[in-house]
Amino acid sequence: MANLIAGRIFGLICLLIVMVAVTYFIRRAEKGKVPKVRRIAGIDAIDEAIGRAVEMGRPVMAAHGIANLRDSTTGPQTIAGLSVLSYVAKKCAEVGTRVIVPIRQPEVWPIAAEIVETAYRMAGKPEEYQSTDIMYLSDQQFGYSSSVMGILMREKPGAHIMIGAYWAESMQLAEVGATVGAMQISGTAQVSQIPFFLVSTDYCLIGEEIYAAGAYLSNEPALIASLAGQDVGRILAVALGIIGSLLTTVGIKALIDLTKW
């Protein structure tokens, strides 16, 4: 017979609430009721940046971070970056601008190539797709970053879009991108790197905004629906925190005891 383990029951309840909420919204979205997502400033800037690159006659560089797809905390950032890439590639294919995609993780390469190729096919220009522009560089962090810096200097892109998980190399990439005069749009959920993106790029998507941007641009029901499910958990967290703190202030420990259930 299965028994619950004391001290973990309330955690299990919270887990079930969020799980049920996410499942509910996914099911609902698949029946056609997709929740609306708030528009984020940086998203509009993507169109602007591509337009600018076209005017200048320069290519667009669209990167999706350096994380793999497997890691439980950074994988979702790569997924968000790839969703943005699919939007960028579609736009670029429509207006006929080259799109360069630098890649660090070998396992992401076929996916990115497929995304860009599909975008060109959908735009009716399959012959304009260049597989050499989807560049696998190096699976070494700084091998990757030094190659990207080199490409930035040689190709001088008009737009440089970096959305995904970045670590120490964020600084190098954003700095070099700024020196070659690209309009830069960045976004990462790695808190330690946000300040650098914030100061040295034109638009920066902060933290979870990248997931919203990814879901918004990809229009994939499951992604958008899980945002709605997460929001249920978010409200749960805010409510528990506020009520608990007020109760603590007046000396009632009931909620704290409940969480230790």
């Binding site: 890691d71 905390t73 950074t74 670590w167 120490a168 808190v191 330690s192």
Partner: protein, 277 residues
């Protein structure tokens, strides 16, 4: 181009040269600037001092060789401090460089034998296990089988006296971890602190320090030693001045340079902007 405009556009190579000067000069001619003791290092010192006699400590170098310059001084200082305590130490790591960092660099500085510590009885070096969080989970559930042999002599772990009464995370009193990223504090909390309630203290690189704040505030993390400055303070507290103390003047000077440059850039920015409008 006017002088203020030039101030905004100094070639980056001049800035690089300034950075070299501001770091090398105080290293060659130590300035002996005062180092005020702050609360982080005090808390760390206390956390180590308060480890009760006979405790079991997991000591973990969770960083790559790239982070040696920043994390190595605090690792040495803490290890030497632990050597003076009456506790059993299990060295293990989940970063693939961690084992060599400990073996090749730390053991050359500190020989546990000089503190009367016997290998296999008072301390043991288990080395590295791949698999990050999964491995840390396995280590918590079954220590001997996750590291079947020790790192220094490649003998079966179960044959050592120290491991006779230490089987799972429940037998460990405190984790002392030095880290510069993932896996690190989050994984220790998820796989050790939450299920087994093992105490955790973490020395980390500066970059990781802001992420420690919520865990410190919630009490999941008992103490945190962030970066080189705090290490220098800690070295002074345990009266064992070493690399961090030698480097702290350079920290001061380089930070001074950053502050000056930011101010300089903004002066130029506001001067030219005022003129344009």
């Amino acid at each position: 181009m006017s002088f203020v405009e030039k101030l905004q556009n100094i070639d980056r190579r001049w800035i690089y040269i300034l950075a070299w000067i501001f770091v090398l000069y105080p290293l060659i001619n130590p300035l002996g600037l005062p180092v005020p003791i702050q609360k982080e290092s005090t808390a760390w010192n206390k956390a180590i001092n308060d480890i009760p006699d006979g405790s079991v400590v997991v000591f973990s170098c969770m960083f790559s060789i790239a982070s040696i310059p920043e994390l190595y001084p605090m690792t040495i200082a803490t290890f030497s401090h632990l050597m003076t305590k009456n506790c059993k130490i299990i060295v293990a790591t989940f970063w693939n460089d961690g084992a060599l960092v400990f073996d090749q660099t730390l053991l050359k500085q500190i020989d546990p034998a000089t503190y009367g510590k016997v290998y296999g009885k008072d301390w043991i070096d288990l080395g590295y296990a791949p698999g990050a969080e999964t491995a840390m989970r396995a280590f918590a559930d079954d220590m001997v089988n996750t590291f079947p042999s020790d790192y220094l002599y490649s003998k079966p772990t179960s044959s050592y006296e120290i491991m006779q009464n230490i089987k799972t995370a429940a037998d460990v009193d405190i984790i002392v971890s030095f880290e510069s990223g993932t896996p690190g504090v989050g994984e220790w909390l998820r796989q050790w602190n939450t299920p087994y309630g093992t105490k955790l203290i973490v020395g980390c690189s500066g970059v990781s320090a802001p992420g420690m704040a919520p865990y410190l505030q919630s009490g999941q993390l008992n103490a945190n030693l962030p970066g080189l400055t705090s290490t220098a303070e800690y070295e002074l507290l345990i009266k064992r001045p070493a690399l961090a103390t030698a480097g702290v003047d350079a920290v001061s000077m380089s930070h001074l340079l950053v502050v000056l440059l930011v101010i300089l850039g903004n002066v130029g920015y506001f001067a030219t902007r005022g003129r344009k409008s």
